[in-house]
């Protein structure tokens, strides 16, 4: 199971500047584990010490905010697209 993950600017120091990388896993949690194996330290920027999604980061599977679809347990379809985006809103 593979997924395409879009990396926000502030995490591209971990991915050698790449804005999109491939990872494997059938849930968001597994995908983050896979990412961390390839790009050590990346997961800790997205998930806090208690294993929860950090307060100011939004993760999407396709167009869906994972907070609506099971959080880190949200399923990732084969070939799915995951976006990691800093939480800013107002307008």
């Amino acid at each position: 199971m593979s997924a395409q993950v879009r990396i926000p600017t502030i995490l591209r120091t971990f991915t050698g500047g790449q804005n999109e990388v491939e990872a494997s896993g059938d849930t968001v949690a597994h995908v983050l584990e896979s990412l961390d194996a390839d790009y050590p330290g990346l997961k800790a920027r997205i998930v806090d010490d208690n294993g929860a999604l950090r307060r100011f980061v939004n993760v999407y599977v396709g167009d869906d905010d994972v907070r609506f679809i099971g959080g880190l347990a949200a399923e990732v379809p084969d070939g799915g697209k995951i976006s990691i985006i800093p939480a800013v809103a107002g307008g």
Partner: protein, 428 residues
């Protein structure tokens, strides 16, 4: 001198000295890590939002009072250069603070003011924040002014870019009120209607902001500067009250930025000795159909779970409010509260504001007044305390909200007898 993280990108080359006035750095509101002034908006360490920090010199009331009748009279308190007045801007602010005696009597309050921000150049408070964002964009060498918007911001960005002579790209939910769409498109902006709600538009804009060089998404990558513009609401309210702070305030909440920046603005005035220190209770207002911060407040949480918005108050329809945790902090710290009212109450209170004070507010104004009435009824607002509420936008942009509730009393042929027939019956 401020410590700078060695992981942080250095400020862009070519930024002139004094580009950000008395601002000295950006600081993460979550973990406190500091960054240099630049087009940064999320903390490198924890994704937390960045906020502008300052080293203020002595600033006097007389200096401010001798300034222009716009937000630029407060330039030393904003991240803008000292020569900000020489650049083309919509010069927003210094809107009227209405002594709302009729509405106060109707609500049972001793003293009430309405800060009527529909008087700004594009008829909402967004002109304030955009003017500061435009300055930051210019100083950082960014050449496209852009935003995801629920409408008011789109109007403000399109107009400010037209005035500054630069390109703008504004992105809005495709189901937005027609008035707000036209009021952006008229400025010849690149208006993009996105199939989705505001949170979908915001996600898209955040992705674009990470890819396009030279773009200033006012509420994304120059957000720390943009947000500072809302402090001018606090500055003006205090100055217009005769350099005093009010006792309690009711403020509409979408992302929550305006509420937190009004609180910050009051704190800066106190710190600079421009007003006497006193407690100000801060209350927030949301529509029931999009009330994620109210839900967190009532559940005793300090994080906000996102919701899918369903309300006529589209300018407040942000289901995933980035500043939500800070709104909770402010209302709890000041002894305030955040509450909500349903759409029917919103409509009734748009009409109430119009009929008591001659102010036609948009749906956000209806939310704020509706919540004000609720907070009085539930004993949270002190009826004897001096109260200020914000009307953040113009009812002409949300005509649909009230169009089924108000209208002509009759339609008559153009004859005196016909008028007389109607009038006798009407006044009987």
């Amino acid at each position: 001198m401020t410590a700078v993280l060695d992981t942080q990108v250095p400020p862009p080359a070519g930024v002139r000295a004094g580009a950000f006035g008395n601002a000295t750095h950006l600081a993460c509101r979550a973990c406190g890590a500091q960054s240099p002034l630049g087009p940064f908006y999320a903390c490198m360490e924890c994704f937390g939002p960045l906020e502008v920090g300052y080293d203020f010199p002595k600033i006097t009331r007389a200096e401010i009072e001798s300034g222009p009748k716009s937000i630029w009279r407060y330039a030393p308190l904003l991240p803008v250069p000292a020569d900000i007045g020489t650049f083309r801007s919509t010069d927003p602010g210094f809107t009227r603070l209405v002594d709302a005696g009729n509405l106060a009597a109707d609500l049972g309050l001793r003293k009430l003011h309405v800060k009527d921000d529909s008087g700004n150049p594009t008829h909402s408070f967004k002109d304030r924040v955009v003017a500061v964002a435009l300055s930051a964009a210019r100083e950082l060498g960014l050449t496209v002014l852009a935003c995801p918007s629920t409408g008011n911001l789109a109007n403000a960005v399109a107009a400010a870019a037209a005035r500054a002579g630069i390109r703008s790209v504004v992105m809005v939910p495709s189901n937005l009120e027609q008035q707000k769409i036209i009021a952006s498109a008229v400025y010849d902006t690149t208006l993009i209607a996105v199939e989705g709600n505001y949170d979908d538009v915001n996600k898209l804009a955040s992705e674009i902001a990470g890819e396009e060089e030279g773009w200033a998404f006012v509420n994304v990558n120059v957000r720390p500067y943009y947000a500072e513009g809302s402090k001018t609401l606090a500055f003006e309210i205090a100055e217009q009250l005769g350099w005093r702070l009010p006792d309690q305030m009711v403020i509409p909440v979408a992302s929550g930025s305006q509420l937190t920046k009004i609180d910050k603005g009051f704190a800066e005035l106190v710190k600079l000795g421009l007003v006497e220190d006193k407690p100000v209770k801060i209350f927030g207002a949301q529509a029931t159909g999009c009330s994620p911060i109210v839900q967190a407040y009532e559940a005793g949480h300090d994080v906000v779970a996102p919701v899918r918005p369903n309300t006529i108050a589209k300018s407040l329809a942000i289901g995933n409010p980035a500043d939500g945790p800070y709104v909770l902090d402010v209302v709890r710290r000041t002894g305030g509260r955040i509450a909500d009212v349903d759409d029917e109450t919103v409509v009734q209170n748009i009409i109430r504001l119009a009929r008591t004070e001659g102010i036609f507010g948009e749906t956000a104004g209806g939310v704020t007044l509706g919540v004000t009435a609720r907070l009085i009824a539930e004993g949270d607002l002190d009826p004897d305390a001096e109260t200020v509420i914000i009307n953040s936008g113009d009812g002409l942009k949300t005509l649909d909200a009230v169009s089924g509730h108000v209208g002509p009393k009759t339609t008559i042929p153009p004859r005196y007898e016909a008028f007389l027939d109607f009038w006798k019956g009407y006044t009987a």
